[in-house]
Symmetry: C2
Subunit: 171 residues, 2 copies
């Protein structure tokens, strides 16, 4: 089964992201807006119990994530994905590193760039057009996220929450 | 904000439900297949903390839910929704009753009929046609669900998990 680890921002920020996603992101219906902490990985039922346990321990050490969605950026030319850039902080870098090191579930596909995707799978022309518009609109939202989610993927590509973990520590 | 309480069946049963939902349920993209324990209700941030706490206490008392999706039924003529009927059990009746009584979040809209919706908002003619076909195919799945979920709804109608609760008791 495929699993992933994400942090869902506030309803307000999810609603804002969805105003773009419903037009520009074919994954719109598969998952609500999120910040990925660990890309999709495979695990069986035995492994996921251990992963869940370790994630619980990590969550108990970290305090709620302070995030600042500061502008609209693009991964072009790597991909044509457009996203709310979330300012990197030592806290975000550290929780990402802990998840990677403790869970041992494969190396990350990319360098960790905290973000909330709002558009993807666009043609180059669409990307240039839409990115030009969205960059001007921008985004500026600050908030705290007090929990992280372990999700699993169904055959149709949609994601269901397996478990939530409250961030209840001090780091 | 609107909240709801559900139990998600196994990936296998969700995948099966989605084979029908993707064709016959306009809510297909808003939430993955689920058994509703409490219909949508309003709560503010203060209230939801208390509700979450009470739900946690209920979850600690109940053991994983044993369910048997035994046949395909319809709520016609009340609504045109078609669903996997989940056999009522004393355990399901009791957890539903506890949620109602402990959380004090409004009376249920309907008598509790445990089910997983696979088709809704059909015209009468579509309903008759599709129900006739699906009833013949039927369903027969038994499993246990070891957690329940408190969800909240975004403006576009989609649902995000707020918190999961493991059923870790004996009832």
């Amino acid at each position: 089964m495929k699993y992933g680890i994400v942090a869902f921002p506030s309803k307000k920020l999810q609603d804002l992201a969805n105003t773009y996603r419903k037009r520009y992101d074919p994954h719109y219906a598969k998952i609500t807006p999120h910040m990925t902490l660990k890309d999709a990985f495979d695990a069986d039922e035995m492994q996921i119990e251990e992963i869940s346990q370790k994630l619980s321990e990590i969550a108990k050490r970290f305090s709620p994530l302070t995030i600042h969605a500061s502008r609209i950026s693009s991964f072009f030319p790597t991909t044509n994905a457009i996203y709310f850039r979330v300012e990197p902080t030592p806290q975000l870098t550290k929780i990402h590193k802990e998840i990677q090191e403790q869970l041992q579930i494969g190396k990350p596909k990319h360098v960790f760039v905290p973000h909330i995707t709002i558009a993807q799978k666009l043609s180059d022309a669409e990307h240039d057009d839409i990115f030009g518009q969205l960059r001007m609109i921008g985004v500026n939202e600050q908030e705290t996220i007090d929990r992280i989610h372990l999700l699993y993927q169904l055959e149709d590509g949609s994601w269901t929450t397996y478990e939530t973990f409250r961030l209840s520590g001090a780091e």
